[in-house]
Amino acid sequence: MTALLEVEDLRVSYGKIEAVKGISFTVEAGQVVTLIGTNGAGKTTTLRTLSGLLRPTHGRVVFDGQPIEKVPAHKIVALGLAHSPEGRHIFPRLTIEENLKLGAYLRKDADGIAKDIQRAYDLFPILGERRKQAAGTLSGGEQQMLAMGRALMSQPKLLMLDEPSMGLSPIMMQKIMQTIVELKASGTTILLVEQNAQAALSLADQGHVMEIGNIVLSGTGRDLLHDESVRKAYLGED
């Protein structure tokens, strides 16, 4: 079986600086795959390239059987690849409900959209309670919920989450990670970028460790979680 997402020798540069230096990995349907690594490892650059916001200088990206490395961002969403960006990037002056509706911008099925908005409110009840409120008034954790709910509104085949736990309180972080577990259980395919390696690896099927633009180590989530070098570098153990 061919993978849902195949990345082959991907290189991305900002001017003369190469941020991603030829990485390859795949995501199978139904899997949770995580990219971990420190700041500046190239994780966010990788996701922004996959969703079309950046153009690779080299390499291939095949999503659902179709090469997408030259497709503009707004058309990649239509193929079923959703991206919840780092820093959440909700639309602050629109209401929560308007944000969710924008997640379904390309869909025409009003009934299905209404049902999925309800599903987002079931997943995150706080969003339902504040549906008419400007999204900018939400707390960081609530904004993260909204960003994830919004990305799900496009009914993606693959959901990319960039640093969903960034800047959140431990309780809120647990809630977000719990939600990812639930999404995984319901069959959603997820590509997760995280600095919180412990949390990410414990729920991922596959993990890749990135360092300054390269993948330096790959394995199952469990293997990486028990790998000595990973434990030293990313899990804060001596």
Binding site: P72, P85, L94, L102, Y105, L106, S154
Partner: protein, 309 residues
Amino acid sequence: MNTLPQQLANGLFLGSMYGLIAIGYTMVYGIVQLINFAHGEIFMTGGFGALTVYLALPSGTSMWVALPLMLIGGTLVAVLIATGAERFAYRPLRNAPRLAPLITAIGLSLALQEAVRNWYPQATSARVFPQINAGPWNIGSVNISSGDVFVIIAAPICMAALASFVRATRTGRAMQATAQDPDTAQLMGIDTNRVIVIAFAIGGLFAAVASLAYGLRYGQVKYDMGFQAGLKAFTAAVLGGIGNIYGAMLGGLVLGVAEALATAYIANIPGMGQFGGQGWASVWAFILLILVLLLRPQGLLGERVADRA
């Protein structure tokens, strides 16, 4: 007639026209953070587009028939030039340093003026613009001409239509999303290039309506009419809070009324005799702008937001 109600009416007329033009500045700035300094000239070409349609009609055509056709003609020309400028002058510079599109805008503005002056028949001086053969009417002490009536009806209709378009349609929401966060808007599946073209087109449409108002009021159009009007409308957009469509209209009205009142009344203040009259109108308008920028830099309705660029 120099009564207060008359001056307020003059101010509302001027202000509505400024507001209509200001919409073009503010929408484009709100979405691409570009001050389109050629927008005054887009307004001017709208006036010549309308005049061209009028001249093509058989003589003796009623203004009630001619006016809608002139509006369509003016709109076509202004929208075409506005969207053409976006596509061929500004889009290639989307990621260039900010100074590049700004200089391009100034160059485009001169190019459009010169093109009309040189190529439009007898356009080196002002060309006579047709009038609606009705009125003027007296309401109490206020004298209203047919040209005033046009803009006083057209401006609120345009504004209401724009407000509901932005609030209630799918494209309107895409516009708000693009203004707030263009990258993330693309992640929603929004074609932001299309949204930008629509913003320029709406600016062109409103400028064309304003140019008709100008022609009907002053009885002429001229290749350089966009300079002053554009500068005032830009002032109105900043005054109201650039990026905010309600601010543009409010800024226009405040500016228009302030200008009319200053023209009529400053001279009555003891010792200020020489500062009244039409010649000083622009000075007072820009003093108002400076005061607002000092006391409320985000403009009347603007939000204090960090610069994204």
